[in-house]
């Protein structure tokens, strides 16, 4: 069985502009493989084809790409799950392309940094560790699992238009992870940092983020919670 691919190619050092290149891959009838595996096989055909990958099991978040129009991790997306007669692979939308499927994530990380994604506690540290009740710990479920793959933020139109001002679904999920942490004492200043017209409120509830997250997380819900926290503080 021959599977057709169309892959985005761009090398800023030699190409004036990006182009789509066609590839064919022979896949045994009745068998399936992950998109990443196919990419690795295509790289054997054409060693100039460039992409990122590391863990190949959906843990590191380095191989986020756009497959037939939908963002996802190539390593955990089977060819059979990508609909259409041809598989079109492009880099994550909205970020500058370094080469082929490799994008510059600096803007994405800058938003991540902005939310201070670490525990801040100004009280005297206890002798051993800061304890948390099982109930409080449970509040972090669905938040801490984010692997920063950027599939969500680069699927979000609000992030495309204002990547410098809108924190984006991934960053906001992280923001909420620390807002809701019972051990964190900076809740108020974290909230004030977010209360401008862009950081949180540029989310229009389109829910692209939810539909693409490979870890099944729900940034829209986290954003809703942040909004409620701001509301509680603000009225």
């Amino acid at each position: 069985m021959k599977i057709k691919f169309s892959i985005y190619r761009y090398n800023p050092e030699t190409d004036k502009k990006p182009r789509m290149q066609d590839y064919d891959l022979e896949v045994e009838e009745g068998s399936d493989m992950m998109v990443l595996e196919a990419l690795i096989k295509l790289k054997e055909q054409d060693p100039t084809l460039t992409f990122r990958r590391s863990c190949r099991e959906g843990v590191c978040g380095s191989d986020g790409v756009n497959m037939n129009g939908k963002n996802g991790l190539a390593c955990i997306t089977p060819l059979s799950a990508v609909k259409g007669s041809k598989i079109t692979i492009r880099p994550l939308p909205g970020l500058p392309v370094i080469r082929d499927l490799v994008v510059d994530m600096a803007q994405f990380y800058r938003q991540y940094e902005k939310v201070r994604p670490y525990l801040i506690n100004n009280e005297e540290p206890p002798a051993r560790e800061r304890l948390q009740s099982p109930e409080d710990r449970a509040k972090l479920d669905g938040l801490y699992e984010c692997i920063l793959c950027a599939c969500c933020s680069t699927a979000c139109p609000s992030f495309w238009w204002n990547p410098d001002k809108f924190v984006g679904p991934s960053g906001l999920l992280q923001a909420y992870r620390f807002l809701i942490d019972s051990r964190d004492t900076e809740t108020d200043s974290r909230l004030s940092d977010l209360d401008d017209a862009y950081s949180v409120f540029r989310c229009r509830g389109i829910m692209n983020c939810v539909s693409v997250c490979p870890k099944g997380l729900n940034p829209t819900q986290a954003i809703g919670h942040i909004r409620s926290m701001l509301l509680q503080k603000g009225v």
Partner: protein, 115 residues
């Protein structure tokens, strides 16, 4: 935190609340007016004039016009900050929208109180 000079509210939350409240006022107005037109049967000039001659309805109407202006101001501000990138162009469009909102508000008040 990003400061915004041409937005209506003082903060993201402020804009957000104004947007929600004005939406409720507009919905209420549209529902009331539709119900009134349907239940009035034939809509004659006299019926229409009596409706608008009542002070409470003038206030309600003006509130709806004001809500429309504020709602449009916030909504259009968001649209311009999404789609218009050059700063000069963005500011000109935003100022025009704000001026138009005020003009319509004054015009609306003038019409309502002339009944």
């Amino acid at each position: 935190m990003v400061a915004s000079a041409t937005s209506l509210g003082r903060s993201g939350l402020h804009d957000w609340i104004i947007q929600r409240v004005t939406a409720v006022v507009l919905a209420g107005y549209v529902i009331y007016l539709t119900a009134f037109i349907v239940s009035a049967g034939g809509l004659t000039f006299a019926v229409w004039q009596t409706l608008f001659a009542q002070l409470w309805f003038k206030i309600f109407s003006l509130l709806a016009v004001a809500s429309l202006c504020f709602h449009a101001w916030i909504g259009m501000w968001i649209v311009t900050t999404d789609y218009i990138k050059p700063t000069g162009m963005r500011m000109i469009v935003q100022v025009l929208i704000i001026l138009a909102c005020f003009a319509f508000l004054i015009w609306g008040a003038q019409i309502l109180w002339s009944v």
